[in-house]
Assembly symmetry: C2
Amino acid sequence: MPDKYKQRMARKKAHIDVRIEEANIDKGIIVLLTGNGKGKSSSALGMVCRALGHDMQIAIVKFLKGVQDTGEDAFLAQQPNVRTTCMKTGFTWDTQDREYDTQKACETWAVAEQYLKDASIDLVVIDELTYMINYKYLDEEKILNALKERPKKQHVVVTGRAASKALIEIADTVSILKDEKHAFRANIKAQKGIDI
Amino acid sequence: MPDKYKQRMARKKAHIDVRIEEANIDKGIIVLLTGNGKGKSSSALGMVCRALGHDMQIAIVKFLKGVQDTGEDAFLAQQPNVRTTCMKTGFTWDTQDREYDTQKACETWAVAEQYLKDASIDLVVIDELTYMINYKYLDEEKILNALKERPKKQHVVVTGRAASKALIEIADTVSILKDEKHAFRANIKAQKGIDI
């Protein structure tokens, strides 16, 4: 009797090997993590770690967040290859001031734009960017152009809920995180090492 | 004319503040990242960074992966607070040997089980666990029991496609990553700092 399992796996391997050989384009990509589920910024941070392991240069631009001191902040502050810029206004319901938020968003975007022109930076993370577009704090066209015209080898990771069609269009890899369940809804508070 | 924006945001803030106050349970949680989209293991790695920022103790158990040297491996090897165990067999189509895979899976799970009994470990990551259950390399009941009986403050992050109903049931936070788009399908190869 032939070993059917072995045969099936050998066929699968042959198919996958061909696909891997076909995928030979080498370029900077845009990864977009959107949807309401937990894990978008975490995922961006995980890619930062991979980049750190390759001794790459990383820039992180955070919109909205930054009122609270987090484990993430403490960790990033220790990494010589990472520069971080944070809007530090908290959420829109914290400031309750649209003009102030817009001004801060524009200032923060100006920094992101510099990173997106700098070929010495291998990975740019733009955290919670989608809200800035959806609230019209920032001009989407300007953002799309900056992304298009960035250095060819530079990777970008963008996070935030409800990404626009245009952002999905320009991205190379897009995951939509569905919020199937969240501990917060069971009255479990934000946990160190998980959420903060 | 009243400032409607400010009023709306103030109401939103009041609502959110109440919800944050209500969410006062403090306990170790299980986070499950499943679905076919990119970002599950990346997200687990991001939570590892948050935990590192809080000087927590971390254990990582990886099923399937480990044939290739990655930026992630290089990064983790530098972290004194992280211990890593890897099945190192690659994928099922690499070994093409069901018995060997099952044996390796059981050996790797035995290590995970020790971590899940050790209250000095604050965060246990079990990467690609779902496949081990779905391929019946490991007994699901045994896994569920080990998760249930772990130290009360210990967090666990589980990743892998097609998580079973029972895993979703036992987890506190579940995100299902939908694969909306992937660079690989556009023949872009796995990128350093993003995929490897």
